[in-house]
Symmetry: C2
Amino acid sequence: MKNVSRRKFLTTSAVVAATPATVLPVAAAPSKELFVHHVYFFLKNKGNEADRTKLMEGLEKLRKVPTIRLSHIGVPAPTNRSVIEKGYDVSWMLFFDNLDEEEIYQKHPIHLKFVEDYSHLWEKVIVYDSIGPAPKKA
Amino acid sequence: MKNVSRRKFLTTSAVVAATPATVLPVAAAPSKELFVHHVYFFLKNKGNEADRTKLMEGLEKLRKVPTIRLSHIGVPAPTNRSVIEKGYDVSWMLFFDNLDEEEIYQKHPIHLKFVEDYSHLWEKVIVYDSIGPAPKKA
């Protein structure tokens, strides 16, 4: 019964076609909001691989905060154009359903512990918080 | 038959639990890469709502480039902390499967037309390109 319900939910969701490789289907919620929280970390020891690895281990723990809808840990891509900012060491991008859910994340014990345990690694962070309708296309 | 195949694909995908409101299920592809292209637009007429609306109309056309896996159009959220950059007018975030797909986007006629038709609106853009494993959690 549980499986049936899940199947029903999935098949009634609006999944836009994409190749099966890394499909990121997005359920139908055209009028709903999406809050994108994007953090760029600049290490004290810029480019230091050991410190970057440590920070990414911390982020693996941090992504367990339950209000996070999607998380992505990245490093600068090998693209080169004058408008591209490449000075950061780690990209940390999160999706939340709304501002309230992001505020819960900010105050969550897992987040506070992350800051306590790993903030000695970075010199600065730049944060961009953006809101807009939830994606219609995957 | 088509529906059955689609159902089969969906039910065998790894969809992590989330509330039905704005579910963003992510299909199973744990070892696959995700390329995140995040652009922040700064308008010439900073804060001008008409120009922002025009730019967002352009982005609605731009999101039709077929290699885009997911797109999000946003504006600065009402969050306020010293590390938050709020000087931009429009956030444009894209997911691609890999660098090659992003390069196709850069050279795509829809993208070139977008730049031709709308670049008079912005003073500058800041771009962050990040790569990392595809998200495991939605």
